[in-house]
Amino acid sequence: MQELVNRAKELLADGTVVRVLGWKAGDLPYNPEPAYFTSAEELDNFVYNGFCGANLSKYMIEASKLEGKTMVCLKPCDTYSFNQLIKEHRVDRDKAYIVGVGCKGKLNVDKLKEMGIKGIQSISGAEMSDACDTLTIQTLYGEKTCAYADAMLERCHVCKGKEHMIYDEIIGESKDTKDAERFAEVEKIEAMSPEEKFAFFQKELSKCIRCNACRNVCPACSCRKCVFDSTKFDTAQKANVDSFEEKMFHIIRAFHVAGRCTDCGECSRVCPQGIPLHLFNRKFIKDINEFYGEFQAGADSEARGPLTNFTFEDCEPSIVTERR
């Protein structure tokens, strides 16, 4: 991390960039938050550890409108989102100095809480320089330890790889964290009967409080005007909500990002209700791969997205019924 701070100070000092976009410590040991830094003194609050899960590429939409260059720290999976935003002309590549930061998997504090680890005072073993094998947690009830991988976010278990797709320089080492099949969960649901599927999604989606966090954090949801903000649609009425509303919201939101979603997993990370929202996006990705050939959004900044493209030989919609 010190290497990152030193480099940021250098870039600020020589005028390459006028601000740094990274993370600063939050009020708790496990909630660092995205932050801008404009001076060497401010950079003393800079942190980068296992809890820095936030994808900073979306912040570059606003930063692209500012005067001067911004140094932005992007993890390997964030660079896919950045590429996708370049493709959609939402960010200015010339306004960004991309420092690809290493990633050894990002942590989810809820996993620790599920293990019964409460009253967390400090956590060590999650720094970039650490091996990231075990976490040592100081709690009100004494010291606890747990395996790093057990506390990782779901998305890190199905990591797309630790290679940065776009960068100006890379700082820090990465460690492979993939230990699960990306579409395993989706396949499990596909194998259910319609009744079971419906019951599963009804159970998950009924938790939704329509806070719009998934939309607001999503790098693909970058429209200036969003359909869900329109009062003409019955999707903005939290007071008299019906179960239809959540289904409508999540299907349409997933559809709007289909073919553009890089599967960064931010939606599931920020959901305050713990809804596995990635299951929707990943279903579209799986279908696109099956029907129209393998496609990874954000792998480059030029290729046409699958929904803005077609071939004469595309399968008919009846394939949905036939393949069952």
């Binding site: 509303e245 409508m248 279908d287």
Partner: protein, 145 residues
């Protein structure tokens, strides 16, 4: 006291102006019968059908939604139905994924000369919806009378 009513499905058919709507017209002028449960909404092109329209129809009480357009290759706007085909494939797959019976949605390509196809398709589809019964998985209670 309620009276037991016979189930009359509500079916929404999105028909493109250039082929399927004319096909429906031909079915009518050829006196080919199709059930009155089918309510046709004319759209400029099958590509105009936003996935939101389909969900919206279900929300407002439709039991089945069918989209008809020109045959691939015959689109009045050259390529509209190719895009629509991809969109609907993905949407239907998603509806199937969340547990909506996949017989409730259908895409059929009907040209202006295929009055017979229009009539048989609609008859088949209405029968299918009859067998599936009322749509309860995508209904919005706020829209019920």
């Amino acid at each position: 006291m309620s009276i037991e009513k016979e189930f009359r499905p509500k079916i929404v058919a999105f028909c493109c102006n250039w082929c399927s709507y004319a096909g429906a017209d031909l079915a009518g002028s050829s006196r080919l019968a199709y059930p009155a449960d089918v309510k046709i909404i004319r759209v400029p092109c099958s590509c105009r059908v936003n996935p939101m329209f389909i969900l919206r129809a279900f929300q407002k009480g439709a039991d089945g939604v069918i989209m008809c357009g020109c045959h691939p290759g015959d689109c009045h706007y050259s390529t509209g139905n190719y895009y629509a085909r991809r969109r609907m494939t993905l949407l239907f797959s998603m509806l199937d994924y969340i547990g909506v019976e996949n017989g409730r949605t259908r895409v059929e390509w009907v040209s202006a000369a295929e009055g017979v196809k229009f009539s048989t398709t609609m008859n088949e589809f209405v029968e299918k919806i009859h067998s599936l019964g009322e749509n309860v998985r995508l209904e919005d209670l706020r829209c019920k009378n």
